[in-house]
């Protein structure tokens, strides 16, 4: 039942209404009484803090407290060894939470004094860790002297452990310590008191004492008041005074006090909330970079040099974080400024150009590529491409090697796409690299040229067909296929005679895919050769299909004879050859080839029969 006030202050006397705390006993922790006036606490410090009172309904069992600190010790050590999501660590954490819950069954807060070697409660020191791992010392060295844990702290314990773990790795040069980190975390169920060393020995100003004799000349006040009033004409008075309202002060009128002028309307508050969100979403980096670019355009050489130095520092920082977008931004803007020609001083232009040259340095690039390979940074292909296009031609070899040797397929693809931009900028360099003695680079350059369809590189790539390594020769064949030029096709024909089976097959398939007619006679020669007869079925098929792709009427007749014909002894050709001939006829796709296939439709040999039926099912586009 709501009651009237018993006295002016009774409604505010909540202490009278709260349940009376149990009398603390020798075993309970000390009633932490910090009065409002400075007083000496038991540690000898002069304190001046707000009063907090611990309501202690019962006696705290010291064995529970020991268990708590043991559990804390184990959890802290586990956190050092394991990641935060490790089941072993989580298990220790669970025990620690349980230990706190047992405390809350006996008390509704726990305050400990932080000492160098442990946490003090009721004159007993509880150690957590030793030496460098002494937890209490981590708090003590940063000035923390008291910790108060409150019920529900166990819900914040993961964050607490993260704080402890983080602070442990900080050193004296860090910009954070236990106090600053705890402040940021805004714990709800943890309070701490710390000695602020900043305040030690600080000189505070003394009050100017007022003596009874001190007096201000009233004339001074009168003069002050009349200072402007005599000159003021009625017409110059504020509107409100003209309306007969008294002035409130010489510079302020009643109108100034309209409440709406000083209150924020809900719409204004909403608008401000949006502004705060905008502020928090603001792309600070871009705005800072824009400021630097704007200012580098000021005709102030020393400042230009300083900004270039800053940009030189920012670039590796951005690269290290995988922020290629920001790094590219710097390069794009700087490039534009240098190209403009009349913005930077002579010396500064040279510095900017040196910056670009440094970026192409193998050491810088190697770092970047290593980070990409290890997955430390993960930019998109587009971002990588924009960045790499600012590299000089000298970086092409390194980048090509990286695309060839990367063990990560997704990265290879992105690098290839990115390096292509660079290749287009330096085609002469690319061709030079095709001729490199280093097979890895030569192959990569050849692949890149094929990807770019750099037709003028055909002869250089064809030169790779003379290399000793079969994989190099095969890569050259694949690149020549992509080029599609007549020079490239010439090269492919040479590859039909390669010592390596894979190279030959690739060349034959390539010529077949491109329907390169001039290769017909060579292919015809080869399919009738002993070499092919002695080769495996895959190679045979490749050559026959290639032949079929470039076949004319005479070719069909020859293939028909192979498939359906008999020798002098009325024997048909070996089934493999006949099957290959059928497959070749399937590639031809003319009525004559079809007729030849149908003649063999009643074939008994399964290999031949299957090849014939497969060929008949093929529908080839008209040539």
């Amino acid at each position: 039942m709501a009651t009237e006030s018993e006295s002016p202050d009774s409604g505010l006397d909540r202490a009278a209404r709260a349940p009376a705390p149990a009398q603390p006993s020798a075993d309970s922790f000390p009633n932490f009484d910090l009065s409002l006036t400075p007083a000496d606490d038991h540690a000898g410090h002069t304190t001046a803090v707000r009063e907090i009172t611990d309501a202690v309904p019962g006696i705290l069992d010291s064995s529970d407290l020991q268990n708590l600190f043991n559990a804390l010790d184990k959890a802290v050590r586990a956190r050092r060894l394991y990641q935060a999501n490790n089941p072993v660590y989580l298990s220790f954490l669970s025990h620690l939470k349980d230990a706190f819950v047992r405390i809350w069954a006996q008390a509704n807060s726990l305050t400990v004094t932080v000492e160098e070697h442990g946490f003090l409660w009721n004159d007993h020191l509880y150690s957590v860790g030793e030496g460098r791992d002494n937890l209490a010392f981590q708090f003590y060295k940063d000035g923390i002297r008291f910790l108060t844990f409150l019920p529900t702290f166990e819900q914040e314990i993961e964050r607490f452990m993260d704080v402890v773990h983080r602070v442990r790795s900080l050193d004296s040069s860090s910009d954070d310590d236990m106090v600053t980190v705890l402040w940021e975390k805004e714990f709800e169920a943890l309070q701490y008191s710390y000695v602020d060393a900043l305040a030690e020995g600080l000189a505070l100003p003394e009050l100017t004492p007022v003596t009874e004799a001190q007096r201000i000349d009233p004339e001074l006040i009168s003069t002050d008041l009349s200072g402007g009033a005599e000159e003021e004409q009625p017409a110059q008075q504020p509107y409100s005074q003209q309306q007969g309202q008294p002035p409130v002060a010489s510079t302020i009128t009643r109108e100034d006090f309209e409440e709406t002028l000083y209150f924020l309307e809900p719409a204004e508050l909403e608008s401000l909330r949006k502004e705060v969100e905008l502020e928090w979403r603001r792309d600070l980096k871009t705005d800072v970079l824009n400021a630097l670019f704007d200012r580098i355009e000021d005709p102030m050489p020393e400042r230009q040099t300083e900004i270039l130095r800053i940009l030189r520092q920012l670039l590796p920082a951005f690269l290290g974080r995988g922020d290629l977008q920001s790094a590219s931004r710097i390069l794009v803007e700087l490039n534009a400024i240098v190209q403009a020609g009349d913005v930077l001083g002579e010396e500064q232009t040279k510095q900017a150009q040196e910056l670009f040259a440094e970026l192409s340095d193998p050491a810088v690039l190697t770092q970047l590529l290593k980070s990409l390979e290890e997955g430390a940074i993960d930019p998109s292909g587009g971002e990588l491409g924009v960045f790499l296009q600012h590299m000089g031609s000298g970086s092409l070899a390194l980048l090509i090697r990286a695309t060839e040797t990367s063990g990560v397929a997704a990265l290879q693809l992105r690098l290839r796409s990115a390096v292509e931009h660079l290749g287009r900028s330096y085609p002469a360099k690319l061709m030079e690299l095709i001729r490199s003695d280093d097979d890895v680079i030569a192959v990569g350059a050849a692949r890149l040229s094929g990807q770019m369809v750099l037709t003028e590189s055909a002869s250089a790539i064809a030169g790779l067909l003379n290399r000793r390594t079969a994989t190099t020769r095969k890569a050259a064949v694949e690149a020549l296929v992509q080029l599609r030029s007549s020079a490239a096709m010439e090269g492919l024909q040479h590859a039909l005679d390669d010592d390596d089976r894979e190279v030959r097959i690739a060349a034959a398939r390539g010529l077949g895919t491109l329907h390169y007619q001039p290769a017909r006679s060579r292919l015809e020669e080869l399919i009738q050769s002993n070499r092919l007869r002695d080769s495996d079925l895959t190679e045979k098929i490749a050559f026959f299909e290639a032949y079929g792709a470039v076949a004319n009427a005479e070719s069909v007749a020859m293939l028909d004879r192979m498939l359906n014909g008999r020798n002098l002894l009325r024997q048909k050709a070996v089934p493999e050859l006949r099957a290959c001939a059928a497959m070749a006829l399937g590639k031809v796709g003319t009525p004559a080839s079809r007729a030849a296939l149908e003649k063999a439709s009643d074939e008994n040999h399964p290999m031949v029969r299957n090849a014939v039926f497969k060929a008949l099912r093929q529908e080839l586009p008209a040539r």
Partner: protein
């Protein structure tokens, strides 16, 4: 002089619990407004409200929610609102105000069934203003609600009793002087090219944020300690304080206030790279000197790049240093070619900087402007380039006559403003300390008065401000009244 460093205490849990309470109160009110009581949404809202009240009772023994001025207090802790919950706060405050209720106390015996009648009554129309509270109290008594006690609004009387106590003043003083010391060290080290101890900077700014959140009046009072010889350093700290004060009014979170404060502390760091002869020149600057001075925002941006020891680039602080003279329409300096939109924080720092600079004695400004005139100029003259909304918020925090303003009253007394009137409709009638009587005698024990206090026989204010004036004219150090 402090011989041993004092203990500093972290914030209590009452803040988050208090905000949760207000939010739950609001939610329950909204639910009851829309649905019948047996509706699941209403029941859930009442459950949540009861849960939070019970939690506070379990911890504190009682829940005492008070409305004083436009602040809500939970068990004497002033609740901090931010932009995510201001709506809940204003609705709850509105409900209480409507019925003239200044305090609601839930005692330990509270049951869930007590809550619905209370909220329903608060949602109902209030009676005439002079009988609103009595009507409400009587209806509550007739309802089924038990274990709830209400008291009427007490207004300024209570706020007066909340004048910063000695502890709060001492804490504010320590924080202020620590921060000036840190500012001095940092700015001097920057000038000499030495490594900067950022941990001290962080601690200083965090302390300022804490002090402003707990009691901004004390911290604002510290800004009156305008030391001419250490102007650069005190100005940096003052701008930090004023910026955090504005940010707090806008409901920024603690971390946001910290970021704002950090940037504000460094806003003029570029001046360390300008010729001191130009920075401290008495009188006007010629064209060349003015050009040099206009470089300080850019120099500030560049300085912060060279600040070693930073684990992360302080981009926001850089932008605050760079943009604080740009003005709202970007007609200030430096001028930019690439797109830019100085955001809220830059505008806050600009407001704080403008105010502190205009109200301080400088090498080129022997006579500082009176704070009220400065406020008016900032608010009404768009050419000054300040965000009028932010100036409005600033006035809302500091009052028309900011803390530290020396005034002549119509009683011929001299008085210093020590705080704004808790009644938001009486910002022009601040809390003051009378320091000299009508005969000009300085009072060894200044008397605290509320200018809104009226003479019962005439209904007119007992005292009115006639004029604001310069303390130096009278040889008065207003800071003595905040020390």
């Amino acid at each position: 002089m402090t011989d041993r460093a004092p203990l500093v205490q972290s914030e209590t849990i009452l803040q988050p619990l208090g905000r949760a309470l207000v939010t739950a109160f609001y939610a329950a009110g909204q639910a009851l407004k829309l649905y019948p009581i047996e509706n699941a949404t209403v029941q859930k809202a009442l459950d949540e409200l009861y849960r939070i009240i019970r939690r506070i009772i379990d911890r504190e023994g009682v829940v005492d929610l008070k409305l004083v001025g436009d602040f809500l207090f939970l068990n004497d802790a002033r609740l901090r609102l931010d932009l995510s919950d201001y709506l809940a706060f204003s609705h709850v405050a509105g409900m209480l105000n409507k019925h003239g209720v200044g305090e609601i106390e839930f005692d330990a015996a509270l049951v869930r069934e007590d809550l619905a009648p209370l909220i329903s009554l608060l949602l109902q129309e209030a009676g005439p203003e002079d009988t609103a509270f009595v009507r409400f109290r009587d209806r509550l008594a007739l309802s089924s609600a038990r274990n709830i006690r209400v008291e009427p609004s007490k207004g300024a009387e209570i706020e007066q009793s909340r004048e910063p106590d000695d502890h709060a003043k001492q804490a504010a003083k320590l924080t202020y002087f620590q921060s000036v010391q840190v500012a001095k060290e940092v700015l001097t080290d920057m000038r000499l090219g030495k490594a900067v101890n950022l941990r001290r900077v962080k601690r200083a700014v965090q302390s300022i944020v804490d002090q402003v959140l707990n009691n901004e009046t004390s911290m604002i009072g510290m800004t009156t300690l305008r030391d001419y010889d250490q102007y650069t350093f005190t100005h940096s700290v003052n701008v930090c304080i004023f910026s955090v004060v504005i940010g707090q009014k806008l409901g920024l979170t603690k971390i946001q206030l910290y970021e704002l404060g950090l940037g504000a502390l460094f806003h003029d760091i570029g001046k360390m790279r300008i010729d001191p002869g130009v920075v401290n020149k008495a009188g006007g600057l010629n064209d060349e000197e003015w050009f040099q001075m206009q470089q300080h925002p850019t120099e500030g941006l560049l300085s912060l790049f060279s600040m070693r020891g930073l684990s992360e680039m302080p981009y926001r602080a850089m932008l605050l240093a760079y943009e604080h003279h740009m003005k709202l329409d970007q007609s200030g300096y430096p001028r930019n070619k690439r797109p830019r939109d100085p955001t809220l924080f830059s505008r806050i720092v600009a407001t704080a900087d403008g105010f502190d600079a205009a109200t301080s004695k400088r090498s080129y400004q022997a006579q500082p402007w009176p704070p009220d005139e400065v406020m008016r100029e900032m608010r009404d003259n768009p050419k000054r380039g300040y965000d009028p909304l932010l100036v409005k918020a600033f006035i809302n925090v500091t009052g028309v006559f900011p803390v530290g303003t020396l005034c002549i009253l119509d009683t011929q007394e001299l008085a210093v403003v020590i705080g704004r009137n808790p009644d938001p409709t009486r910002l022009h009638q601040p809390m003051m300390k009378i320091i000299a009587d009508w005969m000009g005698m300085m009072l060894p024990e200044p008397i605290t008065v509320d200018l809104s206090e009226v003479d019962p026989s005439t209904g007119r204010p007992l005292r009115t401000i006639l004029k604001t004036t310069d303390p130096d004219r009278y040889g008065i150090k207003v800071s003595d009244y905040f020390a």
